[in-house]
């Protein structure tokens, strides 16, 4: 089984002038097409047995002496491929800032408080329908040094493997109606027609009464490349 290539009408370019640190870090030469072999069509597999019991609940997995501060949210959706095949039993890892817009990471110098009861890292494995679900705290916006008065819109980082090394994806999920999206060079680097796929949708059905707002976010990985031999399936 082979996989479709990255659709560069969907993914941001490797150098994008408004996102300044791409200038010295993005490769300048064209990517060389690599015929997919076992090395690319296979990939690491992580099952539910690799995870801890509270890995998917970020409101619990960093507690020291109380509940984390901020707005509780539920983030859920399906992992699919381009042909809407559910991507089951696959690992999703997430990390994010706390409600004040501060990361636990030692290099984050933003002058906003850490929350002793919030860590910000989590993970889960999709179910048989490709569904995943996290309970967490809505992350805050934070300033960064890209340009004068630059602010990152609240976002959650996500990392997925999918069924192969070829389907690897690291992305960010944003929140609907955020005025910072129009000003954010990382979001804006994404081709216009694909940007909407990075924005979650508020969902009343996912919202739990008296507890947490719900957001839906589906993730679409590269689909299978049908060859004449397996087109009958």
């Amino acid at each position: 089984m082979r996989f479709r290539r990255r659709d560069w009408h969907s993914h941001p370019p490797l150098i994008y002038a408004d996102y300044k640190s791409t200038a010295l870090r993005g490769p300048t030469r064209p990517l060389v097409p690599l015929p997919q072999s076992l090395s690319e069509t296979n990939g690491p597999v992580f099952g539910a047995e690799a995870l801890g019991p509270e890995d998917a609940d970020l409101t619990k997995n960093g507690r020291k002496d109380g509940e984390p501060l901020g707005e509780r949210i539920i983030v859920t959706g399906r992992v699919l491929d381009e042909d809407e095949r559910p991507q089951r039993d696959l690992l999703i890892e997430i990390w994010q800032a706390n409600a004040a817009g501060r990361y636990v990471h030692k290099a984050d110098q933003h002058d906003a408080p850490l929350d002793p009861n919030f860590f910000g890292g989590g993970r889960c494995v999709t179910d048989a329908q490709g569904r995943y679900r996290f309970t967490t705290i809505k992350p805050g916006a934070y300033p960064w040094g890209n340009h004068d008065n630059a602010w990152r819109p609240p976002h959650i980082h996500l990392s997925l493997f999918g069924p192969s090394l070829a389907t690897r994806l690291v992305t960010q999920m944003y929140f609907p109606g955020d005025p910072l999206l129009a000003l954010d060079p990382i979001f804006q680097a994404t081709p216009e027609g694909a940007r909407g796929r990075l924005v979650s949708a508020f969902d009343l059905d996912t919202t739990e009464a008296g507890f947490a707002l719900g957001y839906r976010f589906d993730i679409v990985l590269r689909g299978r490349l049908e060859t004449p031999m397996d087109s009958s399936r």
């Binding site: 993914h11 370019p13 076992l38 381009e82 042909d83 990471h105 860590f119 994806l169 694909a194």
Partner: protein, 191 residues
């Protein structure tokens, strides 16, 4: 094809506590680290070390490298291969915990995975300032004959081919630097 691919976004500068927590001293269990060795495996132990360098030649201290490789007998730990005995073949290392942005992996030299390709390790490279991850491959300088027959290596110009060859840097160590740009820009693949 009915759904468009979810766009990639940069891993950003603060991935470490989520993806490589133990390496950076965070109290969260790592699912994969830089030491891939497993007591069930017999084979030649090697160390791979290197730096990721930007277009000005400066080491990048906030990149993450992932490696994916076969075991010493050329088998991947994956459902669609023949299967091996417990060696995951997958490792992760951030460039922010050692001096000068160095990364290293402790692993085994992989065997050839098929009759055509020389022994190699797949690498996936992520960093702040890189909006979509890039793929490359590491080949071994001491596999002269296999490298000379490898269809991918032989398809590249010699100067570009060199960017994929890890040179011995000790009795069981190989050096592999990743140049994001410049004259020695590493060959990156569209997989």
């Amino acid at each position: 094809m009915t759904r468009g691919q979810t766009p990639s976004q940069t891993v950003g500068p603060f991935f470490a506590y989520g993806l490589t927590p133990e390496q950076y001293g965070y109290a969260f269990r790592s699912l994969a680290g830089a030491d891939l060795r497993d007591p069930a495996v017999t084979g030649r132990e090697i160390v791979i070390e290197g730096q990721v360098l930007d277009g000005a030649g400066a080491p990048i201290p906030d990149a993450m490298i992932e490696i994916w490789q076969a075991d010493p007998e050329g088998r991947y730990a994956a459902p669609r291969d023949r299967g091996n005995r417990g060696f995951t073949g997958f490792g992760r290392c951030g460039t922010g915990s050692a001096e000068e942005g160095r990364f290293y992996f402790k692993t085994y030299k992989p065997g050839a995975v098929d009759d055509r390709q020389a022994p190699h390790i797949s690498l996936v490279v992520f960093m702040r300032g890189l909006l979509s991850h890039v793929y490359t491959r590491l080949y071994f300088a001491d596999e002269t004959e296999a490298n000379a027959r490898d269809p991918l290596l032989t398809s590249l110009e010699p100067a570009r081919r060199e960017t994929l060859i890890a040179e011995p840097s000790g009795p069981s160590a190989y050096r592999f630097d990743i140049h994001m740009q410049g004259e020695r820009e590493t060959v990156f693949f569209d997989v």
